[in-house]
Symmetry: C2
Subunit: 359 residues, 2 copies
Amino acid sequence: MINFTVGPVQSSDAVRAIGGKNVPYFRTAEFSDIMLENERLIKKFAHTTDDSRVVFMTCSGSGGMETAIMNCLTKEDKALVVNGGSFGERFVELLKLHEIPFSEIKLEHGKALKAEHLALYEGKGYTAFLLQKHETSTGVHYDINLVSDFCKRNGCFLIVDTISTFLTDPFDMADLDAGVMITGSQKALACPPGIAVMALAPSALRRIEKTKCCCQYLDLKLALKNQERGQTPWTPAVGVLLQINQRLKEIDAAGGDEAEIARAAELASYFRNKLKEYNLPFEIISESLSNAVTPLHPTTQSAYEIFLKIKDEYGMWICPNGGDMKETVFRVGHLGYLHKEDYDKLFDAFLDLREKKFI
Amino acid sequence: MINFTVGPVQSSDAVRAIGGKNVPYFRTAEFSDIMLENERLIKKFAHTTDDSRVVFMTCSGSGGMETAIMNCLTKEDKALVVNGGSFGERFVELLKLHEIPFSEIKLEHGKALKAEHLALYEGKGYTAFLLQKHETSTGVHYDINLVSDFCKRNGCFLIVDTISTFLTDPFDMADLDAGVMITGSQKALACPPGIAVMALAPSALRRIEKTKCCCQYLDLKLALKNQERGQTPWTPAVGVLLQINQRLKEIDAAGGDEAEIARAAELASYFRNKLKEYNLPFEIISESLSNAVTPLHPTTQSAYEIFLKIKDEYGMWICPNGGDMKETVFRVGHLGYLHKEDYDKLFDAFLDLREKKFI
């Protein structure tokens, strides 16, 4: 099966080889060294300040989103959140659950965030801003500079979900003055799922210090304290952490985040050019694309039926959408260990389906 | 490295082979079938009632302990908890954090739970009981029948942490009338860490229905709803779940939980017999042993120094203790893919250390 979903994605041979070994005991200096190297390399690729920190939580990316809210925000905050799809909606649900006062910028699926959306909230005392850098469900890559500028002007603490764009599109945490960056092991890190990676700027560390987290398991005070010596308070997904280490070193050796981002950009543009060339009955639904994924609306067939057909008859996974986009949108990812020849096979399948009048 | 710790432990060849493959996309009927089979086999091996349920949470065993408390207990409860080591202490911390009224039965490290400890609490309106079936830190295997009888008499909802004894010692959830059973992927399930498995009796399901969980990521209502169709609300540690499936089928084919428990018992008694035979300067510190682990106090050398020596010079991991037991206790596990010859190598190392007057 070739995997074009947005996660889990395909891993390199060396990453998979680690998965095939026994998981070592981890309360050791050897494992601590690996965890400290993981922290150092994430800081490097996320372009954090030197005094930022990184923790590795054994949970999903959504778990990381909730961890950020539970540990950094309180009822004294006034948050602004962009909701343009399933993941923006999840931030909204989490703010409600944790009783953080907030306002919501609701965008139509596929629409970009513009200066006029933010203008309304200027100088209104907002203290925090929550944003998907890339709304993975609709493939909309928001203008992070616009949001960062708003936050700098208004003194907002910025929480950025970069789950699907870390290492596929540029991100400079220090320059953007972001407080929290969240990503997952199974996106461009191209490891199995199980770990949420969180980079925390000094502004976040100060907030965490003052905030009482309602959940011990996701308490960042404990995670930070343990990570000082390269450890975790609870048994983590040790195997995935070793795979992340391998992958980070691979990226570093191949030219760092810039080279990895260029690789994703090349795959994305290869796919998008072919899409035009073959004139397939798929419309790109996003006004503002990232390199991570291409979101498509098929005009002649149900999106979900195409997903099933490609899976069952061609041995490939494209990425279905859920909820009210199930029948209308599927996505093709450019994450993980994919090559141009893989896309050629996907286009062969699409062309065959057109030939057979399925699409 | 041979791994005698209490987790992560060694995996079978077939389980490791799955770890060496790419992780598949999981929002599919194929993955749902695997998850439903996982639920069915855990129910079988835990001897639950038919109307019990099982969920797989992407977190550590401690995350599972907290999930049980957050979803099943409220401030209206009056809980009783046995605290005889690090994990009992963790239950206590969690009850405090979540503001559940409780009383604590504090036992000295290594001591068994006796009827007289419980007598004090008889008929005093306790509504919940939290117990490590096996206090992994000290290797004390509590008398679960004693506790179950107390709970039946007093109408207590019983939460059992079987993290280190599920599949090493008998456990009949229906017979004990336990409400929640918690275990982890990296103990006798012998898979990589990342998943907490929770079996939930109808009494737990009723409590979950009525309780508002303060954490969306660990909300059992959402986990249960999704597991109805073999799915999870958030991206789980898909790879580990596939490995658990392989392992459960292996156990089923080899004679089920009884055969697996017999295998652990045989390893444990092989180790303990040799220990006597060689008259090593190690005292067993537990009054009541499980088959999962043998907890030892070395009388002639620091426990932690022995751990380091065995790791660095003999290529094996025994299991160090933390906190105030660091220098005085180490443990030798009987979990996972170990064989008698592995213990022979460990004894060779111990004998060599005695020869060299290190112990």
